[in-house]
Symmetry: C2
Subunit: 232 residues, 2 copies
DNA sequence: CGTACTGAATTGTTGAACAATCCTGCAAGG
DNA sequence: CCTTGCAGGATTGTTCAACAATTCAGTACG
């Protein structure tokens, strides 16, 4: 028996690269991208016929893709009326920050157990944000900010936390569309991310957690404020 | 304009009762039930043709239902091979408890802010378990135990936490299938649930949290042990 | 004993069809 | 002027049939 050869485990990791994806998944990928980048603004209706014609896929396949995105809460499905890009309410934003607080603070509290690779991911995200800021690419600053918080959640070392977090952040992008000035919204948090990363690196977990809480308070308040202004 | 009449808001709450569900969702409901009750054991293959014939729905509709359950991690989908009831590994169990710890301890820490209704849900679940135990309905004891932990997560007052928790617990049911003796596994935790509930009611949140951590340690160890025995 | 091949079975995807439902516009009536 | 009711068209829900792509089991062959 050679079942425990080391290279077998390595190959097992490559499995995911191998299994091709279905058409429906690829369609979902492209729609997801269009939604989070704002090309399909919240409230848009996605008709089966026009979308199917545009993407050159059958209605059945398109409907499978819709299902996936509905489950991810990026689309809402109204029976016999169609699917629409989700419109987040102020309550949704509050709830998103509530669960983010739970997951991210729990994760950072375990930063001591996390291996160096995960801590390095924090730093990489911060650097990406700083570079984007220096080059005035404000939307990329926002993306880097997301990557930073994905890395914070990643400190927990849990695939399910990673997956949940990915979904929450994608959903939160829907909320960002209400922010008219990406620079003013994203840029101030670069310093916070840098501070949190340095505190984690220095092993001052308690201080890092408090700094993270401050970020949540500020960002949530800012978003909710923007919603109230829009009479959301 | 009469848009702010009080009865309008009341009716808005009834909306959910009104919107019918699609066939695919009802099919998914049936399959989900069969899976968590063990009628479809982990590893079972669900062929599109036979399942479709049994449930009298078309292949397309069935595939939509499959997609939903794959997204809930109750089924796995292998390209060109079909869908199978998920087989949990010991690693999966560890990960499930990892995220449960994060969510449930965070939730219980906020028990002070939770309204009385949510605390009452804890007590209701504990009572249901005690009744089931007195009547030797051990599987119902397990169900009540799940309800208890759903209620613990419910203390956070977050729809998204509730939803995530529902999914995690459904997934965890797959692991319970390896426990040969439901009584020995579920019964001991009744006392723990009772203790935690009483501590929360008494406002001793810190103690309740520690008691909850003890439960996680014990239950996880017991499940992982069972997996190792089965050479999982 | 391992390999390559063949054919059956299953899934992936499409297109068309029909029923059920929703939306729009218009006409009638208060 | 505003509501109500009623076509008619448009869209979704669901099924069915077909074919391409792929896997699987068995078999012959070296």
């Amino acid at each position: 028996m050679t079942t425990t050869d080391p290279w077998v485990d390595l190959l097992a990791g490559e499995r995911s690269l191998l299994d091709r994806t279905s058409t429906a998944e690829r369609v979902a990928d492209v729609l997801r991208q269009r939604i989070i980048e704002g090309a399909l603004p919240p409230g848009s209706r996605l008709s089966e016929e026009s979308a199917g014609r545009a993407l050159a896929v059958s209605r059945n396949t398109l409907r499978e893709a819709f299902r996936l995105l509905v489950h991810e809460r990026l689309l809402v499905h109204e029976f016999h009326r169609g699917v629409f890009v989700r419109k987040l309410t102020a309550d949704d934003v509050v709830d998103l920050y509530r669960i983010r607080r739970m997951l991210e603070t729990s994760a950072i509290r375990r930063a001591g157990d996390a291996d160096g690779e995960r801590v390095a991911a924090l730093d990489a995200a911060v650097r990406a944000g700083e570079t984007a800021s220096a080059e005035h690419r404000w939307l990329d600053v926002g993306t880097a900010n997301m990557r930073f918080h994905q890395a914070v959640a990643g400190l927990a070392g849990s695939p399910r936390v990673d997956e949940t977090m990915r979904q929450l952040l994608a959903e939160l992008r829907l909320a960002f569309h209400v922010m008219s000035r990406p620079r003013e919204f994203h840029e101030p948090y670069l310093a916070a991310n840098r501070a949190i990363t340095d505190l984690v690196t220095a092993g001052e977990i308690g201080a890092a957690e408090r700094r993270l809480e401050d970020y949540f308070d500020a960002a949530e308040a800012q978003l909710v404020e923007a919603y109230r202004e829009l009479a959301g």
